[in-house]
């Protein structure tokens, strides 16, 4: 009924949760496609060739962003839980997102160059 709270750490939490769900949904697909290498090598090759599509590259960049966001978000959480760092939490949350964006961009530049 009421709005949920609105502040930086709340958004950091939502990003952590949503990225976690998205990665968990992606993993079975990822695993299935990789196992084609054993069961159906031709299909495996065509899946790999499919990743050349520009849209697929953008989607891959998005996945890398989610992975990094979840990694940095999780590191922030564990740092917060194991040390008393409250004052710098917001900075860390922001740094986590910035770092994720940076690595995803790096990845995207690599695939785009290919």
């Amino acid at each position: 009924m009421m709005n949920t709270p609105r502040h930086a750490l709340h958004w950091a939490h939502l990003l952590h949760r949503v990225s976690g769900i998205a990665l968990a949904l992606f993993l079975p697909v990822h695993f299935y496609l990789l196992s084609l290498a054993l069961t159906d090598p031709d299909a495996f090759s065509s899946v790999i060739a499919f990743t050349d599509q520009p849209l697929v590259k953008v989607a891959e960049g998005g996945l890398v962003f989610l992975l990094c966001a979840h990694l940095f978000g999780g590191l922030r959480l564990m740092a917060l839980e194991s040390l008393s760092w409250t004052a710098t939490q917001k900075t860390l949350a922001a740094a986590g997102i910035a770092g994720s964006a940076l690595v995803a961009l790096l990845f995207f530049l690599q695939v785009a160059r290919a």
Binding site: N3, T4, P5, L9, H13, L77, L80, E81, Q89
Partner: protein
């Protein structure tokens, strides 16, 4: 910023089985608090409006409500700080059952305090004299940081983990348990830690931090809960509690 001479106030009415909203036009005054607005409505517009308050000076913790979607102590919240244009939306505290209008049933909140074993059990009898407590000791500093809680349930209303799992103990009760665990006069800190490490205890906290963000007396339940989690991990590794 120009202040309007009147504000439009939307107030939640009824209860969960029969919810509704009413709109009132209320004159804007200097230094007006949100509680002043509610009182004006009850005295000048609709005497059937139910709400709860007592001290009006931020000590009793009874007047908390949702103000424009955020939990606040209304007696110490100035209208000028929260007015959205000329709009004010008032609703009962989130995460608690509504009794009527702006009044919630606080029982789930206080039940959580009981479940968290937030009861001081003295380690000394009268004849033992007064315990000498070093105010500079680390446990005492941790306990002192959290003892000014006024039980207003703003943190409980702000907490998304409570919203998702009503059995979760919530920030206030967990913070109270943390003060007891750090109180060297408390006789059984291990039992208190046990009470808050069950399936609906401190380990469910996602460190969203709304409790610390909205606490009107600027306590930091988030830090207290992180402290509890650390003690759980330390105990799992076979280490002792700070005051054991």
């Amino acid at each position: 910023m120009s202040t309007p001479s009147e504000m439009r106030v939307t107030v939640a009415r009824g209860d969960a089985s029969n919810p509704s909203e009413m709109e009132f036009t209320v004159p804007v005054e200097a230094n007006q608090t949100v509680l002043d607005v509610v009182t004006w409505i009850q005295q000048h517009a609709d005497p059937t409006l139910s709400y709860r308050f007592a001290c009006r000076v931020g000590m009793c913790g009874s007047c908390a409500m949702m103000v424009n979607g955020e939990p606040r102590w209304t007696c110490r919240t100035h209208v000028s700080r929260v007015l959205d244009g000329d709009r004010l939306v008032l609703a009962p505290l989130r995460n608690l059952p509504v009794i009527k209008d702006l009044v919630v049933d606080m029982n789930p909140f206080f039940d959580a305090w009981q479940r968290a074993d937030a009861v001081h059990r003295p380690s000394r009898a009268r004849a033992d004299g007064v315990a000498a407590v070093n105010p500079e000791s680390r446990p005492r500093i941790a306990a002192d940081a959290a003892i000014e809680c006024i039980n207003c349930a703003v943190c409980y209303a702000a907490c998304d983990t409570v919203a998702g799992n009503p059995d979760y103990l919530g920030p206030a009760a967990l913070q109270r348990a943390w003060t007891l665990i750090n109180d060297e006069r408390h006789s059984d800190p291990a039992a208190t830690l046990d009470a808050v490490t069950g399936t609906d205890g401190c380990l469910n906290c996602h460190s969203i931090g709304s409790c610390s963000h909205y606490c009107p007396v600027e306590l930091r339940p988030l830090d207290a809960i992180a402290g509890l989690k650390r003690q759980v991990v330390r105990r799992a590794l076979g280490k002792r509690l700070p005051c054991d």
